[in-house]
Amino acid sequence: MSALPMAGAPANANLAGLSKNDYRGSPTTLCQGCGHNSISNQIISAMYEMNVVPEKVIKFSGIGCSSKSPTYFMSRSFGFNSLHGRMPSIATGALFGDHNLKGIGVSGDGDSASIGMGQFKHVMRRNLNMIYIIENNGVYGLTKGQFSATAERGLTLKKQGINPYMPVDICMEALISSATFIARSFAGNPKQVKELLKAAFAHNGIAVIDIISPCVTFNNQDNAYHSYAWGKDHEEPLHDITYIAPRSEIILEEEMNAGEIREVAMHDGSLIVLKNLEKDYNPTDRFQALRVLEEAHQNNWLATGLIYVSTEKQSLVETHNLVDTPLNRLTDADLRPIPEMIAKINELMF
C-alpha cells in the first residue's frame, strides 16, 4: 500500500495526489487474453486520469467471471461481490449509506441477462447513481461453456450444440427500461472503452455499458458474435468519443467543423464530445437509439459508442431528499425522536 496520508504525494501523481498504482487491484485470476482484464485496466486508467478518490467509489458485482473482476482494480475502494443476479439490489441499498459515493458495478451477460434480468431492469427505472458494466461474452465461463441469454441464435458450442433461442440485447433492454445512459463497446477497442467509462462516471444516474468482452476459452471462434475476430470485422462506431473534464480547455482538431461534432454537457460540468463518423447520430434521441440498435441487428453490425444519454433526471438517492450529512454518519440525536414524542405517540394509540 502506498499513499497513507502521511506518505506525501508520489512522483507521477494525478490531481488527487495518487499514482496509477493506487488504482490497481489484486492480480487477475481470469484467463490470459480474457476481455475482462482489458476492461479492468481501462477502469484503472479512467479513474486515474479523472483524479477519482478511490474511497469515493464502491465496487459491486454479482457472480461469474465478470463479477470476480472488481477485485482486480481499485483495492482502496470498498467492494461487494454479492449474489448471482442480485448486484443491483445490493448496490441500491449500499449507495444510500453515503450519497456522495458513486457505484461501479461489474456484471456479466449470465448475471444480468438471465438470473438478474428483473433487478437489471428495475435498477434502470430507479436511476441509481452507478456505472453498470456488462462484460458480455455470450457464454457461461465459470461453469465451463454453456450458452448465455445474449448468445446469438445458431451459435455452436463444443458441448452444447446449436443455440436455438433468440438473444437478449442488453442495450435495448436498458433503453426500454428508461436507463439514462446507454453505451456499447468492445474490449478490443480500449480507447473507446476508457472514454465511455469516463463519460459514464460523470453521468448522474445509471450508466449501462454493454462491452463485448470475448471469452478466449469457450467462445472466441471467428464466426461467433462475441469473438475478437468478429468484433474487429463488424464494429461500426457511431462516433469518436472524447470525454472532457470540467474546466478543461477544449481543443478541437481542425477538421471538426460545425455539424461534425456533438457535445453533451454532463451534470458535473464535463463534456462528452462526439465526432460524427458516417452519419450524424444524436444520442439524446430515444427514437434514434432504438433505430440504431434495430439496424445493427438487421445488418450484423457491432454498433459501438454512446447510444443514448439523458442528463435531466434525478438519480435515485436525490429523489429521496436526504440530509446533507451522509446517512451513515448520523448520530443518535439525528435518528432517535426526543422523549416527548413517546407521549404524543401513545395518545394516538386508541
Binding site: L4, P5, L83, S89, G97, N328, D332, L335, I342, F350
Partner: protein, 616 residues
Amino acid sequence: MNKVVNDFSIIVGTKNGSGSSTANNTILRAIFKMGIPVSGKNLFPSNIQGLPTWYTIRASKDGYLGRRETNEIVIAINPDSFTKDLESVAPGGAFFYADNIKLPITRTDIAVYPMPVKELVKNDPNVPNDYRDLVGNMVYVGVLAQMIGIDVEKIQAALDFHFKGKQKPITMNMGAVNAGIEWAKTNLEKKDPFYLEPMNKTEGMIMADGNTAAAIGSIFGGAQFVAWYPITPATSLAEAMNDYFPMLRKREDGKHTYAVVQAEDELAAIGMAIGAGWSGIRSMTSTSGPGLSLMTEFIGLAYYAEIPVVIWDIQRIGPSTGLPTRTSQADLSFVISMGHGDNDSIILMPGNMNECFDFGWQSFDIAERVQTPVIILSDLDMGMNQWMSKPFEYPKNPMDRGKVLREKDLEELKGNWGRYLDKDGDGIAYRTFPGNKHPMSSYFTRGTGHDEYARYTEDAGTFHRNMMRLKKKFGTAKEYMPKPVVFSEKDAKAAIIAYGSTESAVIEARDLLANEQGIKTDFMRVRAVPFTQEVDEFVRKYDQVFVVEMNRDGQLHKLLSLAYPDQVMKLKSVAFGDGMPASAKWIREGILAQYAEPAKKSTVKKAAKSGTKGAK
C-alpha cells in the same frame, strides 16, 4: 335470566370492502373508553370486495385478550353468510340482523333482533347516496349500543378520534348511530342477558396493532432504510413507517434522515436492506412466509458476510400461499436455519404490543452488535389485530452501533485491522463503512471463502477457522438476547412454554386449569433464539413441560428437544394450527390430554428437602 356483564364476544358478519371497519372500530374504541378490557380481531378473506368477513370483539372483565371460541352476540349484515352466522350464535346468545335479508330464522334458543339498517339511512337527508352503505353500518352500532349499553358519549369520542375531529363525517355517522338508538328504544325489547357496564380497567392503557407498534419502535430505534414488497399480513408494517417517519423524524430543513423503497420483489427488498446495512445505516424489511422463502439466499449471505439487517416476519399460515389472511406460528423451523450450509440465527419473538415496539428498536442494537441478520417472528394476529396494551416506553438505552472503526480509529491503528479479525476474542470483528475517507478503510465483502482480512481464500484451515469464529460469535450473542418472561404460581405441578401472540390465551388456559381442574402451572414465554440460560433452568425444573404453539408439528417443541436432548421425555407438544388465533380452549384441552398427575413421591421429596433445611 342472569345478567352477563363485560364477558362475551360480539361478531359482526359483513361483506369485505363494505366499509364496516369504521363501525367495528367505533364499537371497539367505545368499549375500551368505557374502561372494559377489549380486543378486536379481524377474520378477513383474501379478497378485495364481496367475500364474507367477520370482525370479532371480545369484552373481558378479566382482561383476557385471546380469541374466545363462543359467539355470544352475532350481528349479521351479509346475506351470503347469514345462515352460517345464525348457526354460529352460542345457545342463549343474541342475533342482530339487517332486516332486508329475507331468510328464515331457524333458531328458537337465542334472542333475535331484526334491524332496519337500510331503511333508517334512506330517510336521512344528511347522508348523500354514495355514503348510504358506509353510514348504514353505523345503524347497527346504534342498535347494539342501545341493547347492550354502550355509552353514547364514548361512541362520539371514538368517531372524533377516527375522523380526527372533522365535523361533517362525524355528524353524518353520529346521526346514523342515534337513529339506530332511537329505533331500538321504541321497537326492541331486551331478551338477552348481555350487558356492558363501565369499569376502570383500561385507564392509562393504549390500543394498538403489532405492525404499527413495530414500525414506531423501529423509528425510535433509528431506522434509516426500509425496503419492502407488499405481502399480507406484513404490508401495514412498512406502510406504518411511511405514515410515522414524517412526524417522528421531522426536521427544520425538511430533509430526510431515512428512505423507504418499495422493491420489485422480496429478493430485491432484502438485497437492498442488506446493502444498506452493509453501508452502515439501520436497515430493515418486513415480510411474511412466501417472501421470506425468497429471501433465504440473501439472508445466508448476510450471515456469512456478517451484515446487520432486521427482518420482520409477520407469520401467516402456510405451506405455500396457504391462507394468506390467517395467522400461524409455523415459520420457526424455517428461520432457525435460513440458508444452505452451516448457519446460526438470531430470532426475536415479541408477545405483545410493548414488545413489538421494544424489539423494533432493540433489534437494530442486536443486529449491529452481533453483525448479523435479526429475524423477528410476529404473526398476523399480533400484527394486524387490535390489542390493549400498556403505553409504549421510550428506549432505555442509547443506541448500540456495535464495533465500528471511523477515520480516527484507523489512524490510531495505523490502518492495521482486519474485517474478520477477532481482536477481542468474542468472535465479533470490527467493521468500517463505505465513505470512510481513510485510505486503509476499505475491504472487499463476499459470500465466498475469506480470511481475517476479507481476502478471497480457498484454504481449508482458514475456512474452518472462520466458521468456528462465527460459532463463537453466536455464543457471545446470547448475552444480548431478551430474557424470557416467567409467570409463576405457588405449588405449580407442571410448566408451559410458549412464545408470541399466544400469551393471553395461555394465561386464560392456565386460569381455567387452576380453577376448574386444580392444576397449577408455571409459564415461561420465550422471547429469543438462541435460548438463554433461563430457558435451560426452567425446562430442568419441572417433571412435565407443555410446549404450546400455533402450528401442526410442534416446531418450538422440536427446537427445545434439540437444545435439551436429556430433557426430551418431559417435553410435551401442544400444537394446533388452523389459521385462527389461539384460544384458551384448545390449549387447555391439549394440556389435559397429556397431563399426568404427579406421583406422591415428589411431595415426599419436597418434604424431605425442607426437612433437611430445617435440620441445619
